[in-house]
């Protein structure tokens, strides 16, 4: 036991001091911060500044109504979101008006310009010219405004009562609420929770890849220098393996601890809403178990490789498996009961990441959480056993990479 601790301590202290570890500690939080701030920036309800929009409406029918319609969008402190400017100057022909508008857009004097063709007739068509095509929100609001103005005009023309017109115009907003296991209803912030689960998956992946690579690299060093022989002439391979896994896990816990501190300060800074962490306890469990599972896998596989390139290959494959949930995120969100998603939530390799994703997009039953925990813990146990067998022989075999057949033989020995 004393020797196991000596190995664990050595693995931990020597790796904590390495550049790779320190870099992973710094880079990962930067990615988290980017990911957590990005959605709230991208999906802000109101644009933060007043936007000037030009309107070319030679008929003069729409302009005033457009102003009224767009008045309802407010910024903070009751400031108007949009200010419309009439670009239909009397002594200019249509083409000249468009050229003037273009120049104004070019010089950033206005955000964009709405051009109405055949405004006086029933076959009206519209065009919104702007520098940034990505602003779907403005286009959507302009469409909405024009639609409602035309509806109102037509109804008035047909002599419909104004009260009825107002009734038609009213919109019912559908608000999304989330119901959880205990029947509690809450205003779910879907986007943020979704991003939080993606962050967790990315964190897990990066941790596994970073620490896994560190471990494999140090094992290659020990093997190529035959240091491993000095080690196993001092302790049993099982003790060495256990010590390495413990050291690696401590390394992982250090990372989690530092990242949690960063996470908590982000919550405190209100950058991430607390609701995003509704499932934090099972998520952390999946995270830690997943890390343990992959660490023990890495120790076994790592003992069979002799070169840096082989190690790179293996870590690449494993990180692809870890990234799987990001690929299936969309189908899983649209249909949480999708059979493929369900299957992946029972395969040890994908349990941690898929379950972290599922926890945040829909309600997962307690039975399912319990079952996947059991599967995961059981597989950690099995993988450690198998890894120990591979490790025992792998650390002493040099030269060619062993084939799968040979590895099976080692396991059977």
């Amino acid at each position: 036991m004393k020797k196991i601790l000596a190995v664990a301590k050595w693995e931990y202290l020597e790796k904590v001091k390495t550049k790779t570890f320190i870099i992973s500690l710094i880079i990962t939080p930067i990615i988290i911060i980017l990911f957590s701030i990005l959605p709230s920036l991208l999906f802000r309800e109101e644009a933060p500044k007043v936007e000037l929009i030009g309107v070319i409406d030679t008929s003069g029918v729409y302009f005033n109504d457009l102003v009224k319609e767009l008045d309802k969008y407010k910024l903070e402190e009751e400031q108007k979101n949009y200010v419309l400017i009439n670009f239909s100057f009397e002594n200019q022909i249509f083409e000249e008006l468009i050229i003037t508008a273009n120049k104004n857009i070019e010089k950033n004097l206005i955000e964009g310009c709405l051009i109405l063709y055949h405004a006086g007739s029933d076959s009206v068509s519209a065009e919104y010219r702007t520098k940034s095509l990505g602003n779907f929100k403005n286009v959507e609001r302009l469409e909405e405004a024009i639609r409602s103005i035309r509806l109102k005009m037509k109804l008035e023309e047909e002599g419909v009562d104004t009260r009825l017109i107002n009734y038609f115009q009213e919109r019912v907003v559908v608000k999304q609420m989330q119901v959880d296991e205990e029947g509690k209803v809450s205003e779910g912030d879907f986007i943020t929770t979704f991003f939080v689960s993606i962050i967790f998956i990315l964190l897990l992946m990066m941790m596994v890849v970073y620490t896994g690579q560190m471990l494999v690299r140090s094992m290659i060093e020990e093997k190529s220098s035959r240091l491993i022989e000095m080690l196993v002439s001092s302790i049993t391979p099982d003790e060495l393996l256990t010590g390495k896994i413990i050291g690696l896990s401590l390394l992982g816990l250090t990372q989690i601890f530092i990242w949690s501190v960063i996470g908590i300060s982000l919550v405190a800074g209100a950058l991430i809403p607390l609701t995003a962490f509704n499932n934090i306890v099972p998520m952390l469990f999946y995270f830690i178990l997943g890390f343990l599972f992959y660490s023990s896998l890495f120790v076994g596989i790592g003992s069979t490789v002799n070169t840096e390139q082989e190690a790179q290959q293996i870590t690449t494959y494993l990180s692809l498996i870890l990234m799987l949930p990001v690929v299936m995120a969309m189908p899983a969100i649209q249909n949480p009961d999708f059979i493929v998603t369900k299957i992946f939530s029972y395969i040890p390799l994908t349990i941690p990441t898929v379950m972290i994703l599922r926890l945040n997009i829909g309600n997962v039953s307690e039975l399912e959480i319990f079952l996947t925990f059991v599967i995961l813990i059981f597989s950690i146990f099995i993988v450690t056993k198998l890894s120990a067998k591979i490790f025992r022989i792998g650390i002493l075999s040099y030269g060619n990479k062993p084939t799968l057949k040979e590895i099976f033989k080692w396991i059977k020995e």
């Binding site: 004393k2 020797k3 000596a6 190995v7 050595w10 020597e14 390495t18 060093e221 190529s224 220098s225 035959r226 240091l227 022989e229 000095m230 080690l231 196993v232 002439s233 001092s234 302790i235 049993t236 002493l396």
Partner: protein, 300 residues
């Protein structure tokens, strides 16, 4: 005393070690010799308890191998290397901890050996900052820091300059006088000849010869003489008694036919050439090694 009886190690179908027995007496250096791939490493690994033998037994000081055994063996592998980015003292303390030494003892012993091998100034340096020779000294210290009673040294002299070789040789000899049991594996026959009292020569996993070096030399035979000549040279054609002759500047080494008595040959020689030195010589270990391995591979 280390006794290995009828050691056999099979890997799948290949016999890496085929029925090898050896006895290493304390206070003596035992030479484990053989060409590359002969089975030396496998033999060493089984003695170190790194791999389990297919059959056979290993007994140290009257007891079969147990867990405690790990703490009394020291091993210096043939290929050298250490944790390059770690500090010298940290590495030594780590290896000592793996041999169950307390941290305090580990530091004391590490300092003692660093001073003894004249590399104390590198105590707090990283391994990669040391010269290759000094790195090897560190590895040697790592192998002996726990004062092992059984020491296995695989090519301990390669890579050292003559001064360091002398230091290491003195160190090994000091262990001999302390009564440690030492196995020395090497390709350098000259060194083995100087240091080892007993040897085991293996090839293809099998023992080719074993026993006291002096006995082996005696039994190996060969009718060898060395003559110093005042003038002129002997050529093989002149004397039908000569099997082989190596001429050097000051003397010639001659192998005679087995049925020739050296003194008779001397009489004949004196009649023809002026001789100022005559001696009967033993074959070198180097010669024994080459001849026996050749003979062995011809037999297979």
């Amino acid at each position: 005393m280390l006794i290995v009886n009828n050691l056999v190690k099979k890997f799948n179908t290949t016999l890496a070690v085929n029925n090898i027995s050896l006895t290493v007496r304390p206070g003596k250096i035992f030479g484990l010799l053989g060409p590359n791939g002969a089975g030396k490493t496998t033999t060493i690994r089984t003695i170190l308890n790194i791999i389990k033998p297919t059959s056979g037994e290993i007994i140290f000081n009257g007891n079969p191998i147990t867990y405690e055994y790990y703490n009394i063996i020291g091993y210096l592998p043939e290929e050298r290397g250490l944790y390059k980015r770690s500090k010298v003292i940290d590495v030594l303390v780590y290896f000592a901890a793996l041999k169950n030494l307390s941290k305090k003892d580990a530091i004391n012993f590490a300092d003692y050996w660093l001073k003894k091998l004249n590399i104390f100034e590198y105590r707090d340096k990283k391994i990669e900052q040391l010269s290759k020779g000094n790195q090897q000294k560190i590895q040697l210290i790592a192998a002996i820091i726990h004062n092992p009673s059984l020491l296995i040294l695989d090519e301990p002299f390669t890579g050292f300059d003559p001064i360091n070789q002398q230091e290491v040789k003195d160190l090994i000899l000091s262990f001999v006088s302390e009564g440690k049991t030492i196995i020395f594996s090497t390709h350098q026959m000259e060194l083995a000849e100087k240091l080892c009292e007993d040897i085991l020569l293996i090839d293809n996993g099998r023992a080719v010869t074993s026993g006291k070096l002096t006995d082996i030399k005696k039994n190996f035979g060969g009718n060898n003489i060395r003559v110093g000549l005042a003038g002129g040279l002997i050529s093989q054609n002149q004397f039908p008694e000569i099997v082989k002759i190596d001429n050097y500047n000051n003397y010639s080494d001659i192998q005679l036919r087995d049925d020739i008595i050296p003194s008779e040959f001397l009489k004949k020689l004196i009649g023809k050439i002026e001789v100022n030195h005559f001696s009967i010589i033993e074959p070198t270990l180097n010669k024994i090694f080459i001849d026996l391995i050749k003979e062995n591979s011809n037999n297979i």
